[in-house]
Amino acid sequence: MRVKKSVFKLILFTSIISLIAFCFIRQYATSRKNTLIYTFFRQSLQATDTSYYFIGSSRVQTSIDPEVLKQTLGNKHIYNAGISGGTLLSNCIIARRLMQNKSPKVLFIELTPMLPEVPDYLLKHQDDLNLEIFGTANQLLSHLNFLSKCRLLLQLANKYVTSKLFIVDEVRNLMRINVEKTEGHFGFQPISENKYHSVTPFLKFQDFNNYNDKGSVARYQQYINELLKLGHQSNSKIVFFLPVTFRSEDEKETTIPIYKSLPDSTKLQMPEVLLKSMENASYLADNNHLNLAGAKVYSHLLAVQLLPFIKKE
């Protein structure tokens, strides 16, 4: 086979593309150490007081206002650690990193489907933040057989490699597109608009009776147990909660039965009065997120449910 020429051409081509990409990243990459997420982790890992973290997806970002909670509950160590595109796996990764600080803490974790995905934003920052993405995934998947585990770890590896190879964020920086949104990937992100005018996305009290898929409970039990075990080992209390809005029925089918199966001590209660009070289309930013008005109301209502878990200072 005469393929030496091809190998040479491929190496040359890859080198050219890599060189251009490397120069580009050096020139236009955001300085990671100035980002909100970097500051958040640095401070959280040094904290000595009991801290309270809300970990989840963009729904947590837009719905839980830490300032409202701080004022209502009289505790200033309440943080919103929601991340855009967050999955249960990324929640676990963030939780695990926070658990490295042995000071007491309560981690409120949003129950979402266990997608084999981690937000690009987290992958981009994983080296600076020392996030153990593969370690966490490996531990969570320990109950799976070798083949299933390999399959899922390969998906993660693929995501990791592509996040390093692709330079979409740097191009955005170059073109000055969404620069103001760069920090929007992490923490509380209020949205003032109301672009959706239906109450369909809201979680309803009757949904707790409508979804009873035992299959998802069995599948997720292992992940939940792993997380509770980790929390126990690191002086952390884990409390799960459901988002107040859902984009799809599939998601409800998966998460509601899991939520129902959890003991009361490990979940935030969602009483009928809370859900009824939230069911208002003017509280929605879009079909999946609360807007600022919704976030204010929800945070006030949530504060009541948080009383058993958060102590006044």
């Binding site: 050219i16 489907p113 997608l115 084999p116 390969l154 998906q155 693929n158």
Partner: protein
């Protein structure tokens, strides 16, 4: 939506190249078979045993059919009934991800054999092999492994293109890797990646954003138009990638799409260049069979209708697909009755034809972007016309990238004419070739939505 990880594709390619390189020439195809089996095993686990069993059944049936040709259909029905049954009893709304977030949950049950292995294409190839034996186009192959690789050849089984056994057997026996085959293959993979990751995925994101707004009335047609283009870029891109992978081993897979299919000027013109190998399959093994009985050509339209309904129901046994099949057949029958070709001013007719086809194709595509028929009717006819003004503002960057990328692909295809992209680029001078490679690669890493190659048709 099923997605093939880029890393997995790369591993498959490297592993196949390595194993094929070390095996001596007459047996190189066995290397490709090994890599196909290994990757199936990786994706589907123990379920691969069913595929091997079905393959062996088809292999044995080949000899039985040669001996008892009159019982061909009985044998085929018995052998493939379980596959058809699986397909029918496990319906899914294939376009559901566009209307809701169909999550790919992290669990052991992730790899359904139907979704991963694309049983449709396996079945089509199996039937084709057996009928060709009955028609005496080929002799039953004595080597089971050769039949096996024909049935489960890794890139093809996922979503085609479909081939007759005779076409592939001879190519499998002559597998080789050369400088020119690597160059040609990589060119096809490059354009495939560009179409999928830059255009297709961005179109999908745009479409999901659009349908999640409160758009209604005639404006909803835009969603149909986006879906039409999305389906083309998605489907044709991984055919390019699979053709490219095969090309590296000097296996020429058939073309499945005409270049610039979106510029079709009638539905008949469109179907001549869309999913070509599937249409040829239905034409050769179904339509012609029925048409032969209709010597006076009285029922041609009825046979056409049945063929389209069958194509639709094969995709999925559902009301939505039934309507899609019915609408497609009716459209072609009406076009034949009107005889568009006979209209005057061919130049103008063709240009207006493109607009006419795109508009009606968008209407047809709406069937897929709506969760059900009732909500479609409600959204288009019963709700007041509404187009959210923030949509363009919020999606301006995405729209600009899609239009730019589309124009680039269209420019290359317009220059290529009827030849394949790899031949078109290969005919250019060195500098131009490298300019195209660098341009596409940089655009992929700069504007691509990462993860993997969305593979829509693997679901069928």
């Amino acid at each position: 939506m099923p997605s093939l990880d880029l890393l997995l594709l790369l591993l498959y390619l490297l592993f196949s190249i390595a194993i094929v390189s070390i095996i001596p020439p007459p047996h190189k195809w066995k290397g490709l078979l090994s890599s196909s089996l290994l990757f199936y095993y990786f994706l589907a686990g123990d379920k691969i045993i069913f595929l091997l069993l079905f393959s062996f059944t088809i292999y044995c049936l080949g000899f039985l059919i040669k001996r008892y040709p009159a019982k061909t259909w009985l044998f085929i029905s018995l052998a493939l009934a379980p596959l058809i049954l699986i397909k029918v009893i496990t319906p899914d709304f294939h376009f559901r991800h566009l209307t809701s977030v169909k999550n790919n949950y992290l669990s052991e049950t992730n790899s359904s054999i139907i979704q991963v292995l694309g049983i449709s294409y396996f079945t089509f190839n199996g039937i084709s092999y057996l009928i060709d034996i009955k028609r005496k186009y080929i002799q039953p192959e004595k080597n089971f492994l050769l039949v096996l690789i024909y049935l489960i050849y890794f890139p093809c089984i996922l979503s085609g293109p479909l081939h007759r056994a005779k076409y592939l057997f001879s190519q499998f026996r002559q597998i080789s890797i050369t400088d020119s085959s690597i160059s040609s293959g990589l060119r096809l993979i490059l354009i495939g990646l560009f179409k999928n990751i830059v255009v297709g995925k961005r179109l999908s994101a745009l479409l999901q954003n659009l349908v999640s707004t409160e758009i209604s009335g005639p404006c909803y047609l835009i969603a149909g138009l986006l879906f039409f283009f999305y389906l083309y870029f998605n489907f044709s891109s991984f055919i390019d990638i699979f053709q490219g992978i095969s090309k590296i081993f000097n296996i020429n897979l058939k073309d499945n799409f005409r270049n610039r299919i979106y510029l079709s000027f009638s539905r008949q013109h469109f179907w001549q260049g869309w999913h070509i190998t599937l249409n040829e399959w239905f034409r050769d093994y179904f339509f012609f069979n029925l048409a032969k009985q209709d010597r006076k050509r009285r029922y041609t339209n009825a046979i056409l209708l049945i063929t389209f309904l069958l194509i639709a129901l094969w995709h999925e046994v559902s009301q939505i697909f039934l309507i899609w099949g019915l609408m497609n057949a009716s459209w072609i029958i009406i076009e034949k009755k009107v005889n568009l070709e006979a209209l005057p001013y061919p130049g103008v007719r063709r240009k207006l034809g493109v607009v006419y086809h795109l508009m009606l194709a968008s209407v047809l595509a709406l069937v897929f972007v709506s969760p059900d028929l009732t909500s479609l009717i409600h959204r288009v006819f019963l709700s007041p016309g509404n187009f959210p003004d923030y949509f363009f503002r919020n999606n301006l960057n995405n729209i600009a990238i899609i239009i730019g990328a589309f124009l680039l692909v269209d420019y290359h295809y317009s220059k290529a004419g009827t030849i394949k992209f790899d031949e078109y680029v290969g005919s250019k001078p060195l500098i131009s070739r490298w300019f195209i490679y660098t341009q596409l690669a940089l655009l992929i890493i700069a504007f691509g939505i990462t993860n993997g190659v969305d593979n829509y048709y693997v679901q069928f």
